[in-house]
Amino acid sequence: MKRELNRRDFLKMAGLLPFGLAAPRLLRGLHVGPVLQAKSQNVIVVVFDAFSALDISAYGYERKTTPNIDRLSKRAIVYHNHYAGGNFTTSGTASLLTGVLPWTHRALAPNSEVAEPFATRNMFSALQNHYRIAYTHNGWAYTLLRQFRNEIDELIAREKLLLGSLDTPIQELFKDDEDIASVSWSRNMKVDEDGYAYSLFLSHLYEDLQKRKVAKYETLFPRGLPTTGSDNGFLIEQAVDYIESRLTAIPQPFAGYFHFLPPHYPYRTSQEFFNAFDHDGLKWIEKPRDVFAGRESKNLLRKRTEYDEFVLYCDREFGRLYDFLESSGLLENSWLVLTSDHGEMFERGISGHSTDALYQPVIRIPLMIFEPGRETGINIHDVTSAVDVLPTLAHLSGEKIPAWTEGVILPPFSSTIQIPDRNIYLARAVKNDPNAALSMASTMLVRENYKLHYYFGYPEVSSDGLVRLYDVKSDPEEMTDLVQSKPDIAAELLNELKAKLQEVNAPYL
């Protein structure tokens, strides 16, 4: 749904401005809802990559994966039905940063960029009166940040917070094609990952040198050092420490976007959390193998356990960052957002998020907003989307809300009443030409309790596409497909989704 700031909204906001300037301290004492904020407040967005809401104890997961976030969520506005814009880094991050859905920003393929107009229409341009700083471990997210670099005052080089490795010269030499160069380099040199590499001789020498380089961390990370997958290792601690040092040094108001790779695969937690959930008796719900099930479908419970142990590590570091912001006084004047770009799944024969499926674990993500001075939490159960974050932050930090965003100001900050049956969409179309209408895609529509999946164009599904309908309130595990038992609802939602697709495809037909 496209939301523009019309004249009437503007007048309402203008009328509220004096109240907004005076009210926060008054209302804080009364522990009531937030208000329109005065200008000059900082914004800090913390993204943990591939962070599924379903594996967070603050969202009801039976494993205690996030003791720090649980503790802090009691002081936060917690969104319980928040959806990513896509189900992998590029599309999900682009939606978060541009405030529009993948079919609009067109960053459809892995490691692609957004359509040219969005190079200057993003979170950083929206927060233009702030000092804008950004960092990510994730190479694909970094591609987007580099595209937005003209809108960012300080883009911290990705390599800066990776542990120096033998891969760094390759990344620097091929920095304009870093991702594919790194993949090939990894396949050439990293003989330990599969037992073989393209290189017959140097790969063995490389592995030996690399092992010596990170030997001192071996005892700290029993499953190996966290890595960016195809290249070098990193420690979240190092990134958090650096970010803390920058936040105290840069001018205020600032807007920081910090996108950490964990708990993204490979799931390599620190010694402190190693085997924390081993044989803990987690109730495992057997689900039917999906039409999109991949080859990597074995040991899903084991993988989920390792993922959950990695989440513990993220939780500790988020807690540490929060405590620093609080003790340094920055939190008194900063909006802190905790979210993700997409989720992760371990069911139906699917492991991770390289899948065309759109089940809840891979798209339902956390969103918590920590308001300056807030002591009591608010739980929001409305269905919300990643595209709502940008307009909300612009609103809260006193900046103009961009006209292009497809999101809305999140409750409870909106001065207008939320539409109860608002449609939330999501799309994945990795093989689609970004300059063509969507012909092979996974799409989703959520309205109130119902969630419709619609897959079309894939060889795995029929020419009519594949439709599934779930009541995610009464059936959060998506076990019972309601397409047959509730045909009217399925047809209504499918028609709406198809109408939306027709609308977004129109410019490309």
């Binding site: 304009d176 094609d177 993949v183 090939s184 050439n188 073989y196 290189s199 017959l200 001789f201 390289s354």
Partner: protein, 196 residues
Amino acid sequence: MNTQLNFITRRYSKQGLWSLFLLCAFPLHLWTLILTFRDMSWVIERTNLWDAIGVISYGMVFALAESIILFVMIALLGLLTPKQWDTDRRVAFLSLLVILTGIWGILRQARYVWEWSLPLPLLQFLAQSDHPFRFLYVMYLAVVVPTVLLPVYLFLRSKKSTQWMKELMERLSTLTVFYLVFDMIGLVIVIVRNLS
């Protein structure tokens, strides 16, 4: 510098060095091509055809770089061979070493690619022994050492060995020249990818 070059040119002919380089490049390129084409579907599944071509292109460029490094090392190693050997015999001998090392290098990794395993009775024997790893290493040595030493011994003893190696090199060189063409195409693709 000139003295060093003279020292090398006294031990090698230009044609000999080129043949030796092609021999060094052969096993490295062969293995890279086998694995890159094996990976292609995996990469396309995750990205697209252009990126898959990119992965292969980088692979070829890295293989070329490794070939040059291996060639330099082998050429330097050749300086330790007897001075009285003529350049053809030296190159033939070094080529034999490259081929043997290449075969074992490929076999070492191929067992993971195609998931080869030791025969079951042998595994049972190792499992029951007190020192399985010691036995395993002895077994490897018992296989690897003769397969290297025997050809080397035969080469040194036989007068025709240089001619055989030369003929083999000629055949493999023709194939390797094709690989070098792939390298050049790969290099162009890498440059284009980094410019676009």
